[in-house]
């Protein structure tokens, strides 16, 4: 187990390292190089030279990278280009808001999807199963932001039941009830896609388990169907879902970015899109790394949990679970 933990952690660190290299090189591959992004084109050549030295852009790329990485690791994410404010000061509060949104969507989709998927696995091709597969077809084919806009038009503009956008009403910051009210629409939008995929996984994983010999044994010895499904089958059926949760994290983060944009949610994704429009290079890099860190750590946790929960996973073997 320890060996597996160490190897898996090292892998994650390597992945993070690669992502940071790619992100860094992308900036240097930009037409005109990082200078065109980080420096104003209006300054005179002499000033440009001094700026270049101050920013460290006259040094070779590998040295620049090491310096940049060193700063990042010490928590210095750089300053914004426009107002020279530390990036972290703007970014960290938005990270918190994004986490609130994602956690809510995640919990809601799991709470609905897993019981529904299990119910459908016991009544294959019934009305509920057909409905679920209809929803998943729509969920996979519909642009989530469009769904958001339509919800806004119906529930905020037409009926006036829910607030149109933002996280709190002005002056209401920190009020939980207000937050929940603002969460309803974004969470419905964000969880629809996941609802569809988790439900499918729960259903198929349950069907697979229900087909196994020990379930037949349990039924043969006269246990009630309820007991067979909930005590015998459910435990094993839920294990693969842990991996799916880990694998879906990047999609959750991307989806949150779109949802934030639709509902003007003050989160990381919206900040990223805005920064992209303004070419806020340091901000883009910082958010890229934070999301990558989040996803990689999430995957790591999912893999470790999987190994703990499922004793059948062979840890010593080369390649491990992820291969």
């Amino acid at each position: 187990m320890t060996e597996y933990l160490i190897r898996r952690t090292l892998q994650s660190v390597l992945v993070l390292f690669l992502i940071s290299v790619v992100a860094f090189l992308l900036i240097h591959a930009a037409p005109g190089g990082p200078k065109s992004i980080m420096m104003s084109p209006r300054v005179s050549p002499e000033v440009a030279k001094i700026q270049e030295r101050n920013l460290g852009l006259d040094q070779p790329v590998p040295i620049q990278y090491v310096k940049w990485l060193g700063n990042m690791l010490q928590g210095d994410l750089g300053n914004t280009f426009k107002n020279n404010i530390p990036v972290g000061e703007i970014m960290w509060p938005t990270v918190k808001n994004t986490l609130v949104l994602m956690a809510a969507a995640w919990i809601v989709s799991l709470i609905i999807a897993i019981p529904w998927g299990i119910y459908n696995s016991t009544r294959e091709y019934g009305l509920s199963d057909q409905t679920a597969s209809f929803i998943s077809y729509i969920g996979f084919a519909m642009p989530s932001f469009w769904f958001g806009i339509i919800l806004q038009e119906i529930f905020a503009l037409k009926l006036g039941w829910l607030p149109l956008s933002d996280m709190y009403k002005l002056g209401n910051e920190g009020d939980i009830g207000d937050l929940l009210l603002h969460l309803i629409m974004p969470v419905s939008v964000l969880s629809l896609g996941f609802l569809a995929s988790y439900m499918k996984y729960a259903r198929s994983s349950m069907l697979e388990v229900l087909d196994q010999d020990y379930i037949r044994t349990a039924r043969a010895k006269g246990l009630k169907e309820r007991r067979v499904v909930f005590r015998h089958a459910l435990r094993n059926a839920l294990i693969p879902i842990i991996t799916i949760l880990g694998l879906d994290l990047p999609i959750l983060v991307s989806g949150a970015a779109l949802t934030e944009r639709v509902f003007n949610w003050p989160g990381m994704g919206r900040l990223f899109v805005e920064s992209a429009g303004q070419r806020e290079y340091s901000m883009l890099m910082a958010i890229t790394l934070v999301t990558a860190l989040f996803v990689v750590v999430g995957n790591l946790v999912a893999d470790i949990l999987y190994a703990i929960v499922d004793p059948r996973v062979k840890l010593g073997k080369k390649g491990g679970v992820s291969a």
């Binding site: 992945v15 690669l18 992502i19 992100a23 992308l26 900036i27 591959a29 930009a30 037409p31 992004i37 077809y137 729509i138 996979f140 084919a141 519909m142 642009p143 932001f145 469009w146 769904f147 806009i149 339509i150 806004q152 038009e153 503009l157 037409k158 694998l247 994290l249 990047p250 999609i251 983060v253 991307s254 970015a257 779109l258 944009r261 639709v262 994704g269 990223f272 899109v273 920064s275 992209a276 429009g277 070419r279 883009l284 958010i287 890229t288 999301t291 990558a292 996803v295 990689v296 995957n299 992820s322 291969a323």
Partner: protein
Amino acid sequence: MSETQSAPLAPTGNPKVSRRPPGALRTGWKKFSSNKLAVVGLIVLVFFVLVAALAPWLTPYKPDRIDMMFPNLKPGTGNHLLGTDELGRDIFARLLFSSRVSLLVGFSVAVATVMIGTFIGAVSGYFGGWADTIFMRLVDVMNSIPLLFLNILVLAIFDPKFIYMILILTFTGWMGVARLVRGSYLQLREMQYVEAAQAIGVSSWGIIIRHLLRNATAPIIVNATLMVGSAILSESALSYLGMGVQPPQTSWGQMLSNAQEFMLIDPLQAVYPGLCILIVVLAVNFIGDGLRDAMDPRKKAMMSPRRLDQWRKSFSKSKI
């Protein structure tokens, strides 16, 4: 002359009995056409392709023609079937021309990702070893990045141009196909005909392209179809965020971001483009499902009992 005598001697004698079994295309089509949703999907997709191709002839208006005299017309006013937007552009014309962008992105990205993914998957599946390790680690890395962020980052750095969007969607979309092709190549390379081909001196690339690719086509084609849908969705998301198609070009995603701004004035404007995206992607996904079933040799074609009887009559040799 009775049939029992003639059949073994002169198989061409009876026009009903052909010697060859029906080809893969014909059985495939039979299975595909028995799937109603898939057929509907195909019809819808063909309809959208025709609309995209004939767009300039279907509407008298240009999608980017601004007419500040008549902004925000209601649907059906004058010649404007769906009205005009806040700049007086004809919404119906914009919808038509947007279908060009979506389909172009969808199909070109699908073709490109499948080519790259097939190449990488074939190499890592057939050769294994370090090439496999490197490519599959790369797949792991790519899969653990939120790709929307990467797309936005790249488009922000290199200007949101149409061709860059297709390229970046390609570079962030090939992983699924690569995994799939690698899987089937891993299986197929153990086949005896591969051993036979190696024995008579066929080169590795010859085996990869001539022998293995054909046997791996079914899942690749299915995956390509599904890629069309996901590429259309990605394009609309990027355009909605302002990082995709730029004005004066128009796309459904871009129309949606416009429509959201003017939601209070004309709520219907937001409905049409989204509905178009939904319908096209749904159609493509249905086609993909139909193709999957059609190309799965384990799934038998649906046949009516009457046809089955006919088939028995003409094909049974024992005449019981």
